[in-house]
Amino acid sequence: MKKPKSILLVVGFILSTLNISAQRGSFLDHLRIGFGGGANSSHIVVKESYNVFEDLTGSTYKNGYTGMLKNIGNQYFVQVEWFNDYIILSVKPGTYTYRFSKFNEVIFTHETAEQEVPYLLRYISIPLEARYSFDLNRFRPYAGITAAYSNLLGSHDATNQTFIRPKFTAGAVAGTYIDLRYVILDLNVGYLVGLHNITSKSNRFETGNGSTFAQDDILLNDLQISLSVLFSLQKQKHYSNVECFY
């Protein structure tokens, strides 16, 4: 697994490009802190499917996952940003909860049973975002890239044991800052792609009490929408309907 080293390289690269401009002001003047939350929607990509049911007449049973509109989770995080004129580095550590369901179909002559197994995966996650912003006074839209390391929290649910703990994701973000003078709102949309299978191969069939199914090899992608409230340690620009120049 070379991911931690690669992420360090990415961080080093960003920091080195910002190094010169960072020296123009003190570190604290370029710092924003705050908190935020939002909703996410899980998008499950099946790498390899395993079905616990075999039909003795040769039929194949459907085996899949609920769609993104049904997979609504949430996230809560603390946000710390370092910025200069255009470049912003943002860290948003917090809990990221994903919900989705797997369904298995079992066909009988007079009934078709669909077994649905709900998942709730709660990760402690540390996303790092690099953003390029445009200064349009009160609104400062931005676009950027993101990478995150996450660790799955334990649970009494037996199916939780069929997932591996670490998770790495990467993706793109876009959004806008809204400067409200004393606070800055950060409206952020991101799509993160799972970089690896998140299920445990050795526990593929250890799906536990309340559910008889086989765990697939899956990627967990997710669409996130977040709203953060940030407090700048720098003196604020004043925007109003009437601008005064002295």
């Binding site: 075999e54 009988f108 990478a147 790495f168 990467a170 299978n197 445990s200």
Partner: protein, 390 residues
């Protein structure tokens, strides 16, 4: 930076121990017909990979009350390759490996026991042999290749034990008088409507000689009877209270020491090291057991031996009240419980057969009630790793 992220997306994977589908799997074999009930009996691993298992299939609309025979051949990863139905009734454990053929023992409508040999490549019947006995309850192939079959003689009201050569010629036979009419109970056992009695046959060899142990009805009670390997005469036994108590599994450990599980007074017990005189009659209550409260009422238990490169273990596989299959792994010498393996399910399960596979793992054949109402076969393949202990 985008290039680096792109590379990450393309090439990353958390390193995990790769589990191939044939290393470990759980498969439930469903038939869409609701009126069919499947009662799996025995599984064998085939040379060259794959499994073959036999089930008794009961059709609630059928005119004949006894279940028919149904074979399923699977790949090494548990996928169905072919299935075949046979008119032979009430197939009994265990399947027989006979050269390149696989055989099962079942009966016709006149209750006459036959061994039927089939081609494992397609299920076609190759030959049928009359075993000259009635109501087969269990079949066992010993280490010398002899077939030993337990049946019930409803005329003399006896347990019927017969031994056959490799070409299924009768070598020796013995009838153990039950002294009471148990035909109705035997019929209900065979047609899956009554109590499932734990009939079994095995082989032991120690200072007292070589013989078979046969769990059968004898002299009013369900007993484990020790029989001389040549004459099939009974040398000793372990008896219990009528048919309400008994031994559910039995395993020779070393010399006069046997491992066994039993049930009486509503509970199940395990005695991993019981010193038993095969030449005397003993009461099961004289064997102090450790209770297994978690097991189902009068639980069926399969005792088997598992050998790794360095150790031998006794495995006692059964099912719990919380719908899990449990394996108690005992180190043989000195005896100690070294591991307990659980497989949880959301429906009732019942273990019927356990074999060690060629890769050192374990295959478990069981029954499961899909949706809580349709009994179907369940095959679990466990890799060798969980059984290899540091």
């Amino acid at each position: 930076m985008l290039f680096i992220l792109g590379s990450l997306i393309q090439g990353c994977e958390i390193k995990q121990k790769e589990i191939l589908p044939e290393d470990g799997f759980t498969k439930i074999y469903n038939h869409p017909e609701e009126v069919l009930s499947y009662y799996p009996e025995s599984v064998v691993e085939l040379t060259g990979g794959g499994y073959l298992f036999v089930s008794a299939v009961k059709d609630e609309n059928a005119e004949i009350e006894y279940p028919t025979t149904y074979l399923v051949r699977t790949s090494a990863s548990g996928e169905v390759e072919w299935t075949m139905s046979y008119d032979w009734l009430a197939p009994s454990s265990r399947l027989i490996k006979h050269g390149n053929s696989i055989g099962f023992v079942a009966m016709n409508q006149q209750f006459e026991a036959h061994v039927v040999l089939v081609d494992p490549n397609n299920g076609n019947v190759q030959s049928e042999h009359d075993l000259e006995m009635t109501m087969p309850l269990y079949a066992y192939t010993d280490t010398q290749g002899y077939l030993v079959v337990l049946g019930y003689d409803f005329i003399s009201r006896s347990s019927w034990i017969s031994k056959y050569s490799a070409d299924f010629t009768l070598q020796r036979s013995n009838k153990l008088s039950i002294n009471t009419d148990l035909e109705y109970l035997i019929q209900r056992h065979l047609n899956k409507t009554g109590q499932d009695f734990h009939f079994f046959i095995g082989e032991y060899s120690n200072e007292a000689g070589t013989g078979y142990y046969v769990n059968c009805f004898y002299n009013y009670t369900l007993r484990t009877v020790f029989m001389d390997v040549s004459s099939l005469s009974a040398t000793g036994d372990i008896y219990s209270f009528q048919i309400e108590e008994g031994i559910s599994s039995f395993l020779p450990i070393s010399g006069p020491v046997f491992g066994l599980t039993s049930y009486y007074e509503g509970n199940n017990y395990i005695i991993p090291e019981a010193e038993i005189d095969v030449n005397s009659s003993q009461n099961i209550k004289d064997l102090p057991g450790n209770p297994l409260y978690e097991l189902t009422f009068k639980a069926s238990v399969v005792a088997s031996e598992l050998t790794t490169d360095t150790e031998s273990y006794a495995l006692y596989t059964s099912q719990t009240n919380s719908n899990s299959i449990v394996i108690y792994q005992h180190q043989i010498e000195p005896d100690s419980l070294v591991a307990t393996h659980h497989h949880y399910f959301d429906q009732r399960v019942m273990v019927t057969d356990v074999i060690q596979t060629s890769d050192g793992g374990v295959a478990i054949l069981a029954g499961i009630y899909i949706l809580g109402k349709y009994p179907r076969p369940l095959l679990i393949k466990m890799p060798a790793d969980p059984f290899i202990l540091p």
